[in-house]
Every structure is written in structure tokens, then in C-alpha cells.
């Protein structure tokens, strides 16, 4: 794995050189996307399009944090899917919360009307 320090061929007690290029690259990507998010927020007027752009940029950021910083990209396929597939349940959670929440909201609103 590229992100792992090479600890072979070392004399006892010797410490390998740091390999940090990929960390700083990820950092600059994250900073860049954050700057872009700010630009979009201030340049565009609030709209569904603006919100969609912001959400897509957020998911990009999430990808870089999970894949690189949390190292998931370099784990086995089994582990990657074990984490990602349950995430699909979030869609169900979203639909359930919105449906039930809207119903309860409506009911409460009508009681106090």
C-alpha cells in the first residue's frame, strides 16, 4: 500500500522516513472543495440547484475523508462493502422519517388549529 511507511530493510532501532505527500494532497483537495462551497453559497441565490451543488460537493468531501484519511479505500473489498451497503439504509431512514414526520406534523398542526 502506497500510504504505508516502508518498514522493511531497516536496521533495528532505525526509523523510516515519513511518507506524507498523499496526506497533504488530500488536505488541499478538502480545502479546495470547502472554498468552492463558500463561493457557491455567496454567488448563487438560494435554489434547489444551489442546494444540489452543495450536497454533491459535501459528498465529494466525505469521500476523500473516508477513503484517504480513514483509509477505507485501501482495506479489503469485504470491509468496504460492509460499511457502504448499510449506508443504503439511510435512504430508507430518510423516506421513513419524512413520511412519518410529515404525517405527525400534520396531525399535531391540526390539533392546535
Amino acid at each position: 500500500m502506497a500510504s504505508h511507511a516502508n518498514t522493511e530493510h531497516l536496521a533495528p532501532g532505525e526509523i523510516a522516513k515519513p511518507n506524507t505527500g498523499w496526506i497533504w494532497k488530500t488536505f488541499f483537495v478538502l480545502v479546495g472543495i470547502t472554498a468552492l462551497e463558500f463561493a457557491v453559497t455567496f454567488i448563487m441565490d438560494p435554489s434547489t440547484l444551489r442546494n444540489s451543488i452543495l450536497i454533491i460537493l459535501t459528498i465529494f468531501k466525505a469521500f476523500f475523508i473516508v477513503a484517504e484519511f480513514m483509509h477505507l479505500k485501501h482495506e479489503t473489498k469485504g470491509l468496504i462493502w460492509t460499511i457502504l451497503i448499510p449506508m443504503a439504509l439511510l435512504i430508507w431512514l430518510l423516506v421513513a422519517l419524512i413520511t412519518e414526520g410529515s404525517y405527525i406534523g400534520e396531525a399535531v398542526y391540526n390539533i392546535f388549529k
Partner: protein
């Protein structure tokens, strides 16, 4: 082979001399990740669902309230519609009375991303068994994490005390700041969700700081060096990056959208 054994052994590797390496006695790692790391991943998965429920609730509640439809510049606080975030979060410590929309939260975001970088540098140093580097980067992470929590404390204080002018409420009185059943910025639930979502996230950051402090002390005492690996730093690192990840979403849904 032992001939005096009265108990059935599952595999030869259960004897005391050999390490546990058989398929059925804990030697197998199907994901090539240790038990601890795997369990941290599963915990984070469940935590992701908690935060997702919070943010969905925010979206739902916001959708059920009226949106402000007038011009962005003429916005005033009212309990009649949902506030525009960059009119609520526009102050900066030491710059009283200036309109700096989202500047402070931008700084907080940068601090948290940077703490993630120093954390991953600590993990990298752990792979190289470089004790001094691990200590250095853990201290930086602690510093940035503590700065983030302090920033959040300032933001909460400002949010609770409110603006100079306050807002005229429906009963004719002027109200300053926010609590759980009244606030000057907008509907009651706006402040409630602010307290719950950023508060729950802040609690996570605080737990992370406690774990980091433990890691720093253990590293300094040489615990991990004696153990032969710095896996504890990796596990705490996973947690710390997750906290950063949650902030990325809170930042978008609470402050930008």
C-alpha cells in the same frame, strides 16, 4: 500430542505454546483488519445513523416552516419564517458589530480539517514506530481539537445572548438571544435544532479529546511501543476523522443550505 487431555480440543493450535491461528479459534481475519478496528467501524456506522436522523429532522422541520421569500439584503429576524443562516451566524470574536457572514464557522471548519490532517500524520508516524513524531502530532491534534471546542463555546455564548437589537416578538416584547423555548432568530425549533445538533457533535469532539489525551499519555509512557504496534492511535484516528466527517455534513446542512 497430549495423551492425558480430558477435554476435547477444537484444533491443535489451542495449546498454550502456539498462537491462536486456526480458523475457529480467533486466528482468522477475513477483512484483514483487527477486531478493534472492525468494531470501531461498526460503531461509527451506527453513529452515522444517529447523525443522519438528526439532519433529516432538521430538513423536515425546516421544510414545514415558511421560507423567507424577500430580498436577501432586507432580511430581518422573525418567528414567522425560517432564518437565513448567514444572517444568524455573522459575528466574529473581537470584531463586534461587523457583518461577517459565516466567517467564524469557516475558521472552525478549517481548524477541524487541519486537526484531521495532524491526526492522520500521527497514525502514519505510528506505522513507522516513531514515538517522538506520534507525540508531536497527537499534541497538535489535541490543540486544534480543543480550539474547535472553544470556538463552539464562543458561538453558543453569542447565540444564547443574542444581538444588540434583539427581535420584537409576537407579544410585543423584545427578546435577545435564544433558549430552548424562545429565540430571537426564528421559530422555536430553529434554536432547539442548533443546540441539539451542534451540541451532539461538540460532545463527540470532547470524547475524541479525552481519547487523544489517553493516547498521548500512553505513547509517552511507551505502552504502545512495548505492545509492538500503535493500533490504538489508528482506532482513535478513525473516530476523530468521523467527527470531522460529521462536521462536513452539519456545516453544509446547517450553515450553507
Amino acid at each position: 500430542m497430549s495423551t492425558t487431555s480430558t477435554t476435547q480440543t477444537l484444533s491443535p493450535s489451542t495449546s498454550h505454546e502456539e498462537p491462536r491461528s486456526g480458523t475457529w479459534d480467533g486466528g482468522n481475519e477475513p477483512f484483514k483488519a483487527s477486531y478493534g478496528k472492525l468494531m470501531m467501524w461498526f460503531f461509527l456506522l451506527s453513529d452515522a445513523f444517529t447523525f443522519a436522523a438528526f439532519l433529516t429532522t432538521y430538513g423536515l422541520v425546516r421544510h414545514r416552516h415558511l421560507a423567507y421569500t424577500g430580498d436577501h439584503k432586507d432580511f430581518v429576524f422573525s418567528t414567522a419564517y425560517w432564518p437565513i443562516p448567514d444572517h444568524v451566524f455573522n459575528s466574529f470574536p473581537g470584531l463586534h458589530g461587523m457583518n461577517l457572514p459565516l466567517a467564524f464557522v469557516a475558521l472552525m471548519t478549517m481548524i477541524l480539517i487541519f486537526s484531521s490532517v495532524t491526526m492522520v500524520l500521527a497514525v502514519e508516524a505510528g506505522h513507522r514506530m516513531d514515538k517522538a513524531d506520534v507525540q508531536k502530532w497527537l499534541l497538535w491534534t489535541l490543540l486544534f481539537g480543543a480550539t474547535f471546542v472553544s470556538c463552539q463555546a464562543w458561538e453558543w455564548t453569542h447565540f444564547i445572548h443574542g444581538t444588540d437589537a434583539g427581535t420584537k416578538m409576537l407579544d410585543g416584547t423584545t427578546f435577545f438571544g435564544a433558549n430552548l423555548h424562545m429565540n430571537q432568530y426564528g421559530p422555536v425549533l430553529f434554536a432547539d435544532l442548533f443546540f441539539f445538533i451542534t451540541g451532539f457533535h461538540g460532545t463527540h469532539v470532547f470524547s475524541g479529546l479525552c481519547l487523544l489525551a489517553y493516547c498521548f499519555i500512553a505513547t509517552t509512557n511507551g505502552t504502545f511501543e512495548k505492545r509492538g504496534h500503535y493500533e490504538m492511535i489508528e482506532k482513535v484516528g478513525l473516530y476523530w476523522h468521523f467527527v470531522d466527517l460529521v462536521w462536513v455534513f452539519v456545516f453544509t446542512f446547517f450553515y450553507l443550505v
